[in-house]
């Protein structure tokens, strides 16, 4: 797939635009004084979108073999589980 003869250029600059805008939005959301829960939810979602953009386009997961996405994605399941347990186990 990723060979020298690839015709179409990939949307690297639009993705950059998105990342830049999202960063600005994040800083904005953070200073908006929203309610804690909503704020955290929004910020985490924005960060997740940004991270996915980097992974999908800059790290080519969108164009590469699926197995690479599996390798990169599987650990996230573990992250979620570990986090969940630690949240339930917080003292006090």
């Amino acid at each position: 797939m990723a060979t020298n003869t690839r015709e179409k250029r990939r949307p690297y600059l639009p993705v950059f635009g998105a990342l830049a805008v999202l960063t600005a939005v994040e800083v904005g959301v953070a200073s908006l004084g929203l309610e804690q829960g909503i704020r955290i939810f929004l910020l985490l979602s924005l960060a997740a979108v940004k991270a996915s953009l980097v992974a999908l386009f800059y790290m080519h997961l969108r164009y590469d073999h699926r197995i690479l996405a599996v390798i990169g994605g599987f650990p996230l399941l573990l992250v979620v589980f570990l986090l969940l347990i630690l949240m339930v186990d917080r003292p006090g």
Binding site: P75, L78, F81, L82, I85, L86, V88, D89, P91
Partner: protein, 571 residues
């Protein structure tokens, strides 16, 4: 490395070799060395437990020295236990399974010339060496070695003022384990890449021998679990060096956080310590039953099941740790369920024997001992998985019994089997089967005499890591039983001399081995013993699964994976 073998200097050939077979042997010899070290430490532990605070004739003055009055000092006992556990786990059982057999067998069994990254492979051994040196050095520093248990629970391991070994010794322990982790991670990346990308033509994933499946899944466990230990160790190191308080409550830290991070690694790690042995035992049992392995696919899926579930059960080590008891229910349920894949494996091993033609060679006997003792170890784990029962048996000798039944009875019998099974391929000579059987019989009997009584001790409530249990009235009557175990442990240790003698004598004097002494099917047996530099004279092509024993297609009772049958290759 297209130069002929002869041109390589001594250094490139034996020391900084990139040949997976040499690296495997380097791991083999260093881990066997540490087996002896860890075992001798165990004997000191056992001696103390049988005759607490008494001077050991001859040996005592040598080890403990004048200034301690030739006897064990109370602060040294935790250090002994810590080092015994650490060395056995990190320097013996993990390196011998993944390092020695993983390295030696993966390219040979998948029909590759070498690992995907031979140089990384070499480095992964040479990162282990400083780890060894640092850990050994820690015996000689002020305060002695780390003494907070192989689990190094904080705050004991984070506060140098709490126990002598928590000084420089603990720091060196951390540094050493960081190196071990780096080495295993490098190895794991290499193994996974090799198994996925370098399989011989025709070697589909579902034609891989179970040894390879097990090593493959193990490598994935290592890859994903080890970095979490690394991060935990680094935080601990920072607490100890630059004064952070991640794990120190006085500064706002959390004690249980360490346990979560540690067990998030170390529970998967216990499967890192058993899966390769399970895989190797499967191959050995099928070979000496001369019968296809029963349920190949269920066997593969149960390895995956163990690995997957292995990531969500770590909390069973923390049932009584003050962790939120609601989590106890979650972890108890998942822990119970993890017995299921192990059960499937056990039943399939038995079914493999059913209507077989059993050749009871030394490797086979050890593999069968693996099955029978692993079952005891596994079943004893069910008691601790049962949270209410664990209230009583947690941190008692029940757990110590469990540890040794799974690790010695399981992994180590697997290792004994594997050493004797693959020795001809590794060194081109054969070990004595008769002495192998003598070693087996003595080890099997003495092993049970040492470790079965631990369940009795545990059931009486004898806590572990206790230098002198007889302080307690309710334990005073257990001293004779402990003495019996200690004497058995001496016998167990002496029995190992037979193995070592057999090993080293055969290395130089053993009968020359043919290419396929066991008439086995897997690819490593199709090349000469020992294999040439790039393993195969011609690249093998695989036509069938690894367990075609007693196939009706041929008159012999084995059918190698690469044999071409009749005119058309059965592919």
């Amino acid at each position: 490395m297209h130069s002929a073998e002869g041109e390589l200097s001594f250094w490139r050939k034996y020391v900084f070799s990139t040949d997976h077979k040499v690296i495997g042997k380097q791991f083999l010899f260093s881990s066997l060395f540490f087996f002896i070290v860890g075992g001798l430490l165990a004997l000191l532990i056992r001696t103390q437990l049988a005759w607490p605070w008494e001077e050991i004739p001859v040996v005592g003055p040598l080890i403990y020295g004048e200034e301690s009055g030739n006897i064990l000092l109370p602060e040294r006992y935790p250090a002994l236990v810590t080092m015994h556990g650490t060395i056995m786990i990190f320097f013996f059982i993990i390196p011998i399974l993944s390092g020695a057999f993983g390295n030696f067998l993966i390219p040979l069994m998948i029909g590759a010339k070498d690992m995907a990254f031979p140089r990384v492979n070499m480095i992964s051994y040479w990162v282990m060496v400083p780890a060894f040196l640092v850990m050994v050095a820690s015996f000689f520093v002020e305060g002695g070695t780390a003494a907070a248990g192989w689990t190094s629970y904080v705050p004991l391991s984070a506060r140098p003022d709490m126990i002598p070994g928590s000084g420089l010794g603990q720091t060196l322990w951390i540094v050493s384990l960081l190196l071990v982790g780096t080495s295993s991670t490098m190895g794991a990346i290499n193994y996974v890449t090799t198994i996925v990308t370098l399989r011989a033509k025709g070697m589909q994933m579902f034609r891989l021998p179970l040894t390879i499946w097990a090593l493959f899944i193990t490598a994935i466990l290592v890859l994903l679990a080890t970095p979490v230990l690394t991060s935990g160790l680094l935080l601990l190191l920072l607490d100890r060096t630059i004064g952070t308080h991640f794990f120190l409550p006085d500064g706002g830290g959390q004690v249980l956080l360490w346990q979560h991070l540690f067990w998030f690694y170390s529970h998967p790690a216990v499967y890192i310590m058993i899966l390769p042995a399970m895989g190797m035992a499967s191959d050995i049992i099928s070979c000496f039953a001369r019968k296809p392995l029963f349920g190949y696919r269920p066997m593969v899926f149960s390895i995956m099941g163990i690995a997957g579930l292995g990531f969500i059960v770590w909390g069973h080590h923390m049932f009584q740790s003050g962790m939120n008891p609601v989590l106890g229910i979650t972890f108890m349920t998942s822990t119970m369920m993890i017995a299921l894949p192990s059960a499937i494996k056990t039943f399939n091993w038995l079914a493999t024997l059913w209507r077989g033609q059993l050749h009871l060679t030394a490797p086979m006997l050890n593999a069968l001992a693996f099955v029978s003792t692993f079952v005891i170890g596994g079943l004893s784990g069910i008691y601790s998985a049962a949270t209410p029962v664990d209230i009583f048996i947690h941190d008692t000798y029940w757990i110590v019994g469990h540890i040794h039944y799974v690790l010695f009875g399981g992994s180590l019998f697997g290792v004994f089997a594997a050493i004797q099974y693959w020795f001809p391929k590794m060194f081109g000579r054969t070990m004595s089967d008769r002495w192998g059987k003598v070693h087996f019989a003595l080890t099997f009997v003495t092993f049970n005499c040492v470790f079965f009584p631990m369940f009795i001790l545990g059931e009486r409530g004898m806590p572990r890591r206790l230098a002198d249990p007889y302080n307690y009235n309710f334990l005073a009557s257990l001293q004779p039983l402990n003495q019996f175990m200690t004497v058995s442990a001496y016998a167990l240790a002496l029995s190992q001399i037979i193995l070592f003698a057999n090993f080293f004598v055969s290395l130089y004097r053993g009968r020359a081995a043919v290419a396929n002494p066991w008439l086995a099917n897997t690819l490593e047996w199709t090349t000469s013993s020992p294999p040439p530099l790039e393993n195969f004279h011609t690249a093998p092509v695989v036509h069938r699964g690894p367990y075609e024993y007693s196939s009706p297609e041929v008159s012999e009772d084995w059918l190698p994976q690469d044999r071409v049958l009749g005119g058309a290759a059965a592919d």
